[in-house]
Structure formats: C-alpha cells, structure tokens
Symmetry: C2
Subunit: 242 residues, 2 copies
DNA sequence: TTTCGCGTTTGACCTGAATCAAGGACCCGA
DNA sequence: TCGGGTCCTTGATTCAGGTCAAACGCGAAA
C-alpha cells in the first residue's frame, strides 16, 4: 500500500511513531492491532487551504488529524457558509456508518492527516470493539463540543465570541505542541487570517477587526504584527466569556 | 425493580409492546436481550414543563423518548438560555461514558421516557455490541442534526428559522403519530407556545409573532386559533428555507 | 528604495431583530 | 355573561453588527 509519508524512520509502521498515538482513537490498541490498522491507513499531507472532504460527497474516507488545524463547514442553498467547528490533532474526521459526508473539511494551516477508506475502517472497527468504543466516546465528546459551539453562535456577542476563540486556540495550541495537557500559551501565533476568524465565529471581518482593536485598547491582549497575540489579562478574557 | 408505567397489559415486559421498539436503539435486539434490557429500565411519565436532566449534574440516568417532545438546552453564566435541539420519540437522551450531564432536558409536552441508570446501561451496552453500535450510529446522527441546527442559529434570518421549524414539526409529528415514514402533515397542532418557539429558534417572542403574521398575510400558512397550523404552500415554505 | 498588492483597519451609514410599551384575544371559573 | 389572567399581537424605538467605502501598512518584487 502506497504512502505519502516519508518523514518517519519506519515507513511500514508509522503508527508507532505517531505523535497523536496516545490521544487519538487508536490509543487503546495493542501493537498487533496498531500494525493491522497501520496497513489500512495512510498519511496525507494538506497544504493550507486544501480541502479534504466535501459536503454531500459519497463518504469514502474517514481520517484522524495528526498535525495542523482544519475547519468543518457547511453551506446554505444560497451560498452562505457556516463553520461547524475546528479540528485539531487527534480529532476524528468524516462520517462512518453514513452514506454522505455531512460537512466540508478544509485545512486552515498546513496539516497532516491519517486517512482510511471508510469501508476498511468500519470493518476494522467491527472486529475491534475497543476501537469502536473509543470512536463512540469521541463522537459523544464531539457532540458536546458542537453543542457548546451552538451557544457561541446563538447567544454570544462579537466580543464574547472572539474571547472564546482566543482562549480555545491558546489552550489547544498548547496541547498540540507540548503533547499532554500543558498550561495554555500566553504568547502564540494565530494560525488563521482575520477573514477565517470571521468565518469561524460567524461574524464579518470588520467586526472581528474592531473587536481586536477593543481588546488591544483595553490592554487585555497585546499584538506584535497581525498574527502574534499575547494574552495580558487572561482573567479578563475569561470574564468576558463568562 | 419498581415501575411507573401501569398502562401496559404486561408490566413485566413493556419493551415488547413499546411503540418505538423498532426505531429506538433497542431495535436490533432479540427477545432475550430485550427482556434483559427491560429489567434494567423503567418507564417514567413527565408532565409538560417537567425537567428530566439538569446540566452539570452527575450523569446518573440515560433515557429514550417514548412519546412527547422535549427540549435540550444550556445556559450561559449570566442566565441566557440556548436551545440545543428538540427530542422526539425514539431519540436518545443523556451522556453515556461521561461524568456530567451536558444539557438540561425539559418536557415541552406531556411525555413518556424509558430511563436507565447510566452504569446499568453502560454495562449492558458493553456486553451487547449490537446495542453499542446502534448507539454509535444514533450519536453520529445526532451530531449531524446538531450541526444542521448550527446553520439555523448562525446564519438564518428569523423568517428562515420559523419556516425550518414548521417544516420539521410537520415532518416529525407525522413520523411519531403514524409510526413509519409517513408524509408530512399539512394540518397540525403546535405542541409548544410562542415563547417556547422563540427559545427554540433563538429569537424573541415578538419576532416570532411578527413572522407568524407575515406567513399568514402571505398565505403560506393558515391558522385556526393560536395553535393549529395549516400549511397552504409547502413549496414556498421550503423555498424560504432554501 | 520604490512600488505594488493584499490583508487589515477605520469610518459612516443601514438594517434586522431586540427591547420597551400598549393593546387585544382567548380561556376558565364564578 | 362577566371578570381576570395568560398568552399573543402590534407599534415605536434602540442597538449590535452588517454593509459600503476608503485609507493604511507590511511584505515581496522590481
């Protein structure tokens, strides 16, 4: 089976060296199982802006995010986009047990994913209940996350939305760089443009820009250039979120 | 084990007579399994307005909706409510494999649910992979639904929201009265008040009322009294949703 | 260094839904 | 049939965020 990944010392079993090995759905599998899973999956690199899944397409692939950040989105009949959430390393993508892919998935940054043909994955899951339970737990967690996102979309002001995003990014960026559950970063590079932030939060670019300006004026955050954020008053940022 | 339900001829195995037997997660179980499941669950009746789950509580129970309609909601720190979705017969409620209940669940109409202690249910699921797979499929479906709801909350106008709700109710009410996949009802009783509709759609009662008036003026719907809706132009209603 | 171009910021204005404030209609019991 | 309460509708006003338009600033190419 061909593989895109060539950066690992052992191409034939990249799973064992996988950076998300202990956090993704494959976490509970033993070495034999990992080796089997390894055989049905492959690494794929995405450059920023590249799409992995298209809403409405036949659900051919499922995947795990290994590195980078993706957005999940859907579109109304008349073309308005709605971001459904963000995917970070160890998150699962795609729609097992479904005919069609329910959302678009697009890389916001350069990213690496580990993809499986859906039918292969389902057969493997069927034969390995531990994986299936892991997938269930992860899906339930995903449902919780998506419901928290609803609160953001349905009830939060522009200020609350941006504060929520900055906190989330600072936490999840820490988790994906330092491995385990590190403390959130106080200085970090925004992985996305203003326009992408606007899309993520369901706002316009102008509103996002104004909110950044306010947070800067209130000295809650500092910025060096357009992308580098320093959290000066995490307490106030958390107070805004409530 | 005590049971609230007394309306069934065979109290000791109400599952077999259950109206959602073929649609809920228990659908794939054989008679022996059903009998076992029956022993760990019990029926509970809810009157309109009564709560079944409270956000943040220890996750003690999970449940299946048998009859009626419930709303799932969450609340911001400062008291704003956000509806996360509606639950109809055969829908699953609660948070297996989780410590705390992630949302409030409140009956909008009189309702019957089939409840299980979470630990009992998890043990049973563990021992019966078919149930576990069913739960996974249902959870994935729930995730899809919750993401569609995001589109409503994040991007739809008041008019689009109400049209979406009217179509959904007319479809799901048909499904729950006639059993299988019946065609949507053209005349139906709204199961909820204007205020509840406003909460569901993330709008105010005044906005909802104004939108009802507009739909009536445009002769897209007719109304007899406050609760009875007649869909006059389903095509236009669907066009509004897009 | 200059210039170009794009991403971003800022300003002026508009709009859809929230808010505030009356009324109106229906239900139920007396 | 009459109150009286609740739910619903309607109107006037406000406001957050969207829209339109213009200027800014930073990096890359010349």
């Amino acid at each position: 089976m061909p593989m895109d990944d060539t950066g690992t010392s052992d191409e034939l079993n990249f799973c064992q060296a996988c950076s998300i090995r202990n956090r993704a759905i494959c976490a509970d599998l033993d070495d034999t199982e990992i080796a089997l899973l390894n055989r049905i999956g492959r690494r794929k690199h995405l450059t920023a802006g590249e799409s992995l899944l298209w809403e409405g397409d036949e659900a051919v692939f499922v995947a795990n995010v290994v590195t980078g950040m993706l957005k999940l989105s859907t579109t109304t009949g008349d073309g308005r986009e709605q971001i459904l959430g963000l995917s970070y390393p160890s998150d699962f993508l795609g729609r097992p047990y479904g005919e069609t892919t329910p959302y678009d998935a697009q890389a916001l940054t350069d990213a690496t994913v580990c993809i499986f043909r859906r039918v292969d994955f389902e057969r493997f899951a069927h034969e390995h209940p531990r994986l299936e339970r892991k997938l269930l737990e992860r899906t339930l967690g995903e449902l919780d996350r998506s419901r928290r996102w609803m609160l953001l979309l349905g009830r939060m002001s522009a200020e609350e939305r941006l504060a929520t995003l900055l906190l989330e990014i600072s936490e999840r960026l820490a988790a994906s760089t330092c491995g385990g559950d590190a403390s959130p970063l106080d200085v970090f590079e925004l992985p996305v443009s203003r326009q992408q932030i606007a899309d993520i939060l369901g706002l316009t670019i102008e509103t996002v820009s104004r909110q950044f300006t306010r947070l800067r004026e209130d000295e809650i955050i500092g910025m060096r250039g357009r992308r580098e954020v320093e959290v000066l008053r995490r307490d106030l940022l958390e107070a805004i979120v409530g």
